[in-house]
Amino acid sequence: MTLPFYVSPEQLMQDKAEYAKKGIAKGRSIVAVEYRDGVLFVADNPSSSLFKISEIYDNIAFSGAGRYSEFESLRKAGIQHADLKGFMYSREDVTARSLANGYSQTLGTIFSQELKPFEVEILLAQIGEQPEQTELYRIAFDGTIIHEKEFVAIGGRADAVVSALRARGPEHVPDLKTALTRCMNALETATSQTISLQALEVALLDRTRTGRKFRRIPAEEAGTLLS
């Protein structure tokens, strides 16, 4: 009979965190910024069919970085949660805050109880009627929630993207064209290589739309916006 090894809880958590961070850093970055009519999402994503940004509810969008299968199951769970809540109560009762809390609980539990933590980072955005009602949340692999303002980046070299955005970000809220240019430049600066439009996934939460506010922007449209 072999004796089980003793591993201190501190060591265990540290190992798990390191493992998760490594997995997330391997991927590519996603950035979301507030622009005049809502929130713009830009992801460095070479696939045109496997999306990293998606709609959760009328005015809520989701984006996941890290291991695809893991954030995909979180995305689906989020849609189920939102649709169920909207069906039971009312459409306006579905909020990003409650979703972010749910994700935080789930990721926190998985991180502390499972052998393998989720290698994901989640970004949630919600827009309201007014620009000041915009909410941006970043949820880390261990369930930490961070409420962000103006812009947020996850996955890959997220820190580099954020500092690139901070370096050039003037105070006022940009229009769509400026916001997109800024995001693209930040992604390029962080990875120090040029990104083609085809390798860019762009989507919006646009408060000027009626009903569902989420919209994907195809590469051609992004091209005309940037030119």
């Binding site: 709609e55 769970a77 849609i79 169920l84 994700y103 609980q105 789930t106 539990t109």
Partner: protein, 278 residues
Amino acid sequence: MKNILSQMPVNQCSSFFDFIHQTRPELTPAARWGSEGHVSASVDEIQRHVLSQLAHGTTVLAVKYATGVVIVGDRRAIEGYQVASRRMEKVFKTDSHSAIAIAGAAGPCMEMAKLFGIELEHYEKLDGLPLSCEGKANRLGQMVKANLPMVIQGLVVIPLFVGFDLKQREGRIFKYDVTGGKYEETEYHAVGSGGKDARVTIKERFHKNLSQPEAITLGLQAILSAAEEDLGTGGPDAFRGIYPTIKIVDAQGVRDVEESDVASQCDQLAQSRPGRES
């Protein structure tokens, strides 16, 4: 509310209807009468009484024209011989290119329309692509079928589904029977208590290649004659300013015909009505 997010892994099916069946069965329409859907004979009398007091919705119809479909519904709901509501909406947009109109017991009707709308949106969000027109029509058929235990209790829900098929580039109309049977109509259809009168009116004037305004007029004429013959169908109510709901479903999507336009159309129809006394 239980945290759905913690139920990992989520079930892999893209249907909201199946999802609530599995996780929250008390929220499904079938939960109204228990899953078996039978009530003992002694309750039968009471039940019949209760049913006669339930609000019912009445005439809804759809007419195809050259590039799409118009879908029209009256606004009246009745409880026995009384008017329960003069402003009920019976035509609902269910997604960008489809709409549903429902006749039958008001409560379950509204519930089915709402559930069907969420079902389509849920699928679109989970799978990233909207269902095909045929797919939507089939799904609705399964939901009508699941409603069968309630039909036996007297709570009939008969939907009329209209969609624009983006592949075939044409508007399509589907009707259903209570067992969930789905039948495609190639020209027009009307359901509800005044459905027969409406169908007769449309039949007399329908032709292929109607224009959109012609189809709208025809739909209104059909609602008018249904309202004249059937107590359960409400005609245009100029006194209160309540007019039938009309939606257009075509390649551009689903949109409402403005109430003011419907009102002026109804005025014109009233002026030109044969046999008008003054």
